[in-house]
């Protein structure tokens, strides 16, 4: 479905995740972050960039890989994106939610 975010028409799935990363902009990220109650700082942006790079390289995302080679520690990742950091950060970064088979 299409939704207007930051004045732009964006295609999103039913759970509010972008379905096309090319439609993502920093303004879109700011508005989604606001919905999640998060004010984006430089640290947030560095995590977002890391997630997008991993996604573009088709690398599976995990808390572990983020802790190993991401820009912040796992503890910091949790304080930046409280409650379900991977799920929230993915939504703000415009990439799919981490999912299982069903």
């Amino acid at each position: 479905m299409d939704k207007t975010v930051a004045g732009k028409v964006i295609s999103m799935n039913e759970e509010g995740y972008l379905t096309d990363l090319s439609q993502w902009t920093q303004e879109v990220a700011r508005e989604i972050a606001q919905e999640e109650g998060i004010e984006l700082t430089d640290q947030h942006w560095s995590v977002i960039e890391f997630l997008q790079q991993s996604f573009k390289k088709s690398e599976p995302l995990s808390i572990r890989s983020l802790g190993k080679k991401g820009p912040v520690s796992i503890k910091d990742f949790y304080s930046l994106f409280p409650d379900g950091p991977l799920k929230k950060a993915s939504r703000i970064a415009g990439i799919p939610k981490p999912a299982s088979c069903i």
Partner: protein
């Protein structure tokens, strides 16, 4: 004489040996498989072993029984791959040269990766069921466990068979019912993902199962450590879940041989082209099954579908033809829901599991994403199929390596995004 070397004689490696041998002349190509183990386990059976559905001996057969005539089996540990020399060194010091290498070394649990998991409670009140020894120890524990808080837990994705932990919950509910002690068991499922179900249609169609079976959910839980003394697991955000009995799926990692070779990602999975199954390491190295970093399920059915496509691509590679970009992430899995019923799911990289009929559109006899007894019989019959059809590299009738959209109900355009 040119050489194909297959690393690993598990599900994927064994299937590749069986596929390739009849298609290549023995006078032109030698095929060698390396594995240090002597026993081939029927891994889907590990889920049932704790509940006494199978006897341990039904789940194991000698590895060599499934290696076809004309293929050499070398039983030795693997040190590393040396891609620039086209050589694999073994732990006994020998080296094997190859023209084409197939990496099928799978994935293993790594409980040592989580602080406290291998503490004093390991295999006393902390168990895994992804190994034969773990599943058997858990069976012994459940025989005289008198109830309490059972926590079924996933440490981190990706894991082998992502649905098995949920199936374990369903089977546990059924098992304790039959033992007339369900009321004495508090059953909780703890997952690092956003919920027990993460795909839209499955969430909508199956969400009720958890409530019906009185399974509590703790989601978005990324474990930091196990506190053996106070019997609780603690996540990075500070959340805690207490347990009397913890059944966990530890972090899954690819084989250490991959790390020693310097060819893996940070979970020791081999970067692989998701459509051709050629590794990104070097053009004469291919990878299959759990050993790859593909965004597909780490499941035997995936390895089976991959094996048909990889066989074609290896023959093309030998002939100097371009590889087929054909693998679509197809997976087909039965999901036990307890009380003699099961679901069936059929999906790929881009299409989530939905309702429908399988394998014949509109006919079935199997139903997709819906509980039925016939699906459960399908899962039980699968053990025979595994030993006699799948491992031997035989085609499963009416089931193609790529997924068919026929007979499936896709409700909305947008849910097709994987």
């Amino acid at each position: 004489m040119r050489r194909i070397l297959i690393l690993g004689a598990g599900t994927a490696g064994t299937m590749m040996a069986n596929h390739l041998r009849p298609k290549l002349r023995s006078s032109d190509w030698s095929i060698t498989v390396v594995d240090q183990e002597k026993i081939h386990y029927y891994q889907p059976g590990f889920l049932f072993l704790p509940f006494g559905t199978y006897e341990p001996k039904q789940l194991k057969k000698p590895i060599e029984k499934f290696i076809p005539a004309g293929v050499q089996l070398v039983q030795c540990g693997i040190d590393r791959v040396l891609p620039e020399k086209n050589v694999v060194s073994l732990l006994d010091g020998y080296e094997l040269e190859y023209d084409i290498l197939i990496i099928a070394t799978g994935t293993k649990i790594a409980p040592q990766e989580t602080e406290g998991m291998l503490g004093e409670g390991w295999r006393k009140d902390i168990f895994d069921f992804y190994t034969f020894a773990g599943a058997k120890a858990l069976r012994d524990k459940l025989r005289d466990w008198d109830g309490g808080k059972l926590v079924v837990h996933i440490c981190e994705m990706p894991i082998k068979c992502p649905v098995a932990p949920l199936e374990f919950c369903f089977l546990a509910d059924s098992f304790f019912h039959e033992k007339r002690m369900r009321d004495r068991v508090d059953l909780t499922f703890v997952t690092p993902l956003g919920g027990a179900f993460t795909k839209p249609t499955a969430t909508e169609k199956l969400g009720h199962l958890l409530k019906e079976k009185r399974i509590n959910i703790v989601s978005d839980f990324a474990i930091e450590k196990v506190d053996n003394e106070h019997k609780k697991i603690i996540d990075y955000g500070g959340k805690e879940v207490t347990y009397d009995l913890l059944v966990t799926v530890p972090v899954n990692l690819g084989d250490e041989m991959v790390a020693r070779s310097g060819i893996g990602d940070d979970m020791n999975f081999v970067p692989t082209n998701k459509a051709t199954l050629q590794s990104l390491v070097k053009e004469n190295i291919f990878a299959i099954g759990d050993a790859t970093n593909l965004p597909a399920s780490k499941a035997g059915s995936v390895a089976h579908f991959e094996s048909e496509i990889l066989t074609d691509n290896i023959l093309r590679f030998i002939d100097g033809q371009p590889l087929k970009e054909e693998f679509d992430g197809h997976a087909n899995c039965f999901i036990e829901t307890g009380h003699g019923k099961a679901l069936l799911i059929d999906f790929n990289y881009t299409h989530e599991p939905v309702e429908g009929t399988f394998p014949f559109p509109g006919v079935g006899p199997l139903k997709l994403l819906e509980e039925s007894r016939i699906n459960h019989y399908g899962k039980m019959a699968f053990r025979w199929m595994y030993w006699n059809i799948l491992l031997r590299g035989r085609h499963i009738p009416f089931v193609s390596p790529t997924m068919s959209e026929l007979g499936k109900k896709y409700p909305h355009e947008e849910v097709k995004h994987g």
